[in-house]
Symmetry: C2
Subunit: 266 residues, 2 copies
């Protein structure tokens, strides 16, 4: 079905997209925004689909956009053409690429994370900065982790800035969003060793055995790990820092411990 | 000397600050902007000083600002009071803290980096994103590296976004800014082993000996390392990634290899 392109800045469909920048609206509708070629490509590669795809062909920068539009159409997505001005208004980016979709949020229950055969899981608690959450997802993807558990999120993974910072790895990494108590119970019941990272530990991360079923737990940027995780942990580790201890950010700490585990398992 | 506070949005001193957002202007004047309590505190702790400190007391959020102002005054800095509105205009931040200084750029020649007693140096080539350069400086500071060499920068370390992303570690880490040929010659003449990171290497970073005098070299976000570094390297290493290889960002890769070196040296 072909409809006329949207040309008005006050079109109701454009307003719907803008509202999805708010978590409240994402939660109420069970949808979220996926913008950009790479992000949409990864969404489709992960076997997921878009509900509505807004396209603005005059903003396309590559030559593969139409293939991607065709793939979305094939999976039943509504396709809506938008003039450049209203598209720019709907876009979350400085330089929009002419591709922006509304997609359904997907199942992020704990059973999304496979805990068989020596799983290695990254757990992150109450991360606040979308950039950090996105970087952690990229790291989880690079490391080929069994999955990532987002516990008691301050920023939900469906935030458009997380989608963007993750470069779409959000769609490829097995992901669970839950509360701390449920996460601890789930990991315990599956026999996964909980390794909490905290500057107060005496054991270096590389002295701990990270080869069995392991969950590496990283705390929030500002407060570190909560007492629940510290008390629920089987092992507490710190990253030895010959320099100043408050300089590493949470995402970097996650990457360093995760890749030490990968080294031990290689 | 007490002068009247600046109240005009078009005051020439405010315009001077705004111009320093441009690299051309920073290079022409040999100065740069340092904004925020933490950043200025680290500047002073590193034994450096401000040339002019702009303060807007109504924007102060803590109780230590006046101590910092007094320290700046003691080292001969000009202090200029600014009303909130023009301060916000001069500020680079969403929530300015009422402290912003112009400081002299400092010596960033290669001899700033001590190469005695098994140095461990991070070299980064043509990094484009200020956030990555800032994160790399934080990592260098946390690891207590001998120093960081910024080769052929696309973004200069005196960029206000680098200062900010570095949280002021820019002032604490021995820092050199130079071209690739000079950096390679300098490291070679000091007997420092050049370890280039590239996805095309066959040796894992943790299989390489990183215990002697070592420079870990990380390439740009988009293009990786140039042929000069790859050909000039003593060893080439890659970070084994069980998942997808294009997911780790340059700053994360730097942190993972640097902290593997720290592990080997512990």
């Amino acid at each position: 079905m072909v409809t006329d392109p949207i040309t008005s800045l006050t079109n109701s469909r454009i307003k719907t997209v803008i509202k999805l920048r708010k978590r409240r609206q994402r939660d109420a509708t069970g949808t979220f925004i996926v913008e950009g070629y790479r992000e949409l490509f990864r969404l489709l590669e992960a076997g997921r689909s878009t509900r509505t795809l807004f396209i603005s062909p005059e903003l396309f920068i590559g030559s593969n956009e139409l293939d991607l539009v065709a793939r979305c159409r094939k999976t039943g997505s509504e396709i809506i053409e938008v003039a450049a001005a209203p598209f720019r208004k709907a876009s979350y980016r400085d330089r929009p690429e002419g591709l922006l979709a509304i997609a359904d949020q997907f199942d992020t229950s704990l059973d999304q994370i496979p805990l068989r055969a020596d799983p290695l899981v990254l757990v992150v608690e109450s991360i606040e900065k979308p950039g950090n959450l996105g970087t952690m997802l990229r790291t989880a993807e690079a490391a080929g982790l069994s999955g990532m558990i987002v516990a008691d999120p301050m920023t939900d993974p469906f935030n458009p800035n997380v989608v963007r910072a993750s470069l779409g790895t959000l769609f490829a990494v097995p992901l669970a969003i839950t509360d701390t108590a449920s996460a601890i119970a789930h990991l315990r019941s599956a026999g996964v060793s909980i390794v909490a990272t905290t500057p107060d530990a005496s054991l270096a991360h590389h002295q701990a055995d990270l080869t069995g079923p392991t969950a590496i737990v990283i705390g929030s940027e500002q407060y570190g790990l909560s007492a629940d995780w510290l008390e629920g942990a089987d092992t507490k580790v710190m990253i030895p820092m010959p320099g100043s201890v408050d300089s590493l950010n949470a995402a970097m700490a996650a990457g360093i411990v995760v890749f030490e585990a990968i080294r031990q398992r290689s």
